[in-house]
């Protein structure tokens, strides 16, 4: 069987050849009008997209049936770039416990996209698995800081305060 996408329902399937676990991956399509992303879900977390992308365009080699959908919402070039870099950054630094270790080359690439990515960061922070440690990027991009060093030990509070800041500034 071959991979297919039903453009009416936005659902599709791909068939892979290996028998163990599915590694996270995603594909990018460039349809006629703008660029869409495909969020790939593993066989267990059917409703939860996988965000990390280290080897785009690499298919997992399993016998799993992967369900995926094409988001009907088209992302801008900037958001597309942000999503790619954010996933890469999380995959590279998510394992570290010190904020300083999260500042790597990919982090600098993210910052270089400019403060226009602040809404995307705040949106990411609102996800259930959103990274609280975005605060270092937000501080660098906005030159503002609604949190104190004491707040930094409470990830929930860090996220709440930055999201509140974003709402007050009408950014989200």
């Amino acid at each position: 069987m071959s991979d297919y996408i039903d453009h009416k329902t936005n659902w599709g399937r791909c068939y892979t050849n290996n028998s163990k676990n599915v590694d996270s991956f995603h594909w990018n399509l460039e349809p006629e009008h703008g660029r869409s992303t495909i969020s790939v879900m593993d066989i267990v977390s059917v409703k939860k997209p996988l965000y990390e992308v280290l080897q785009p365009k690499t298919k997992p080699s399993n016998n799993w049936i992967i369900k995926y959908y094409i988001s009907p919402y088209r992302v801008s070039e900037l958001e597309f770039q942000f999503n790619e870099l954010a996933a890469k950054w999380k995959a590279e630094t998510g394992l570290f416990s010190l904020d300083r270790d999260k500042v790597n080359d990919t982090f600098l690439d993210l910052i270089s996209l400019g403060k226009e990515i602040v809404p995307f960061i705040l949106k990411d922070m609102q996800k259930p698995a959103g990274a609280a440690r975005w605060h270092i990027a937000l501080k660098a991009l906005t030159k503002e800081n609604p949190i104190t060093n004491e707040d930094l030990s409470n990830s929930k509070l860090v996220k709440e305060k930055w999201i509140k800041w974003g709402k007050e500034k009408n950014i989200i």
Binding site: A91, F96, L98
Partner: protein, 151 residues
């Protein structure tokens, strides 16, 4: 552990390959929680699950290993060379990276009563691993300092 519906793992096969070359799925580690940013490895070493513990100075987050060794000394730990499990003693393993000029703190794992070790991998999952060396590599460093305290 039993995973809930819609779970998501950060420590995938790809991440194991990239960060932890000594980890062997189904052999020398197992998952014991899902990922969360509620706490980090330093908090988990003290069984704290609602705090992201870091040390700070005027420049921001401290990264030097000496500061973190001293932090654990302030909690009653002393350096030892014995990593075997001993009744009445709690042991931790501090991972030190030498990527830059100074020795940098990278991670800390806590020994369990069964002799295995438990680690919170940053914002990722908690895992139980057989030895401290299972997490050694370029990400967490190759140098491991064992500390112990009486309990």
């Amino acid at each position: 552990m039993n995973f809930p519906p819609n779970y998501h793992l950060n420590l995938t096969d790809l991440q194991i390959k990239n960060h932890f070359p000594n980890l062997r799925k189904g052999e020398n580690f197992k998952f014991t929680s899902l990922g969360t940013d509620d706490y980090n490895c330093i908090a988990w070493a003290s069984e704290i699950t609602d705090n992201w513990v870091q040390l700070y100075d005027l420049r921001g987050t401290k990264t030097d290993a000496v500061s973190y060794v001293n932090y654990f000394k302030s909690l009653g730990f002393d350096i030892t060379t014995d990593k075997t499990v001993e009744e009445g003693k709690l042991k931790i393993a501090i991972y030190i990276g030498t990527e830059h000029l100074e020795h940098e703190f990278k991670h800390v794992a806590r020994q369990l009563p069964n002799g295995k070790w438990t680690s919170k991998l940053g914002e990722w999952e908690d895992i139980e691993h057989n030895t401290p060396e299972a997490l050694a590599g370029k990400s967490y460093g190759e140098n491991i300092v064992i500390m112990e305290k009486l309990i």
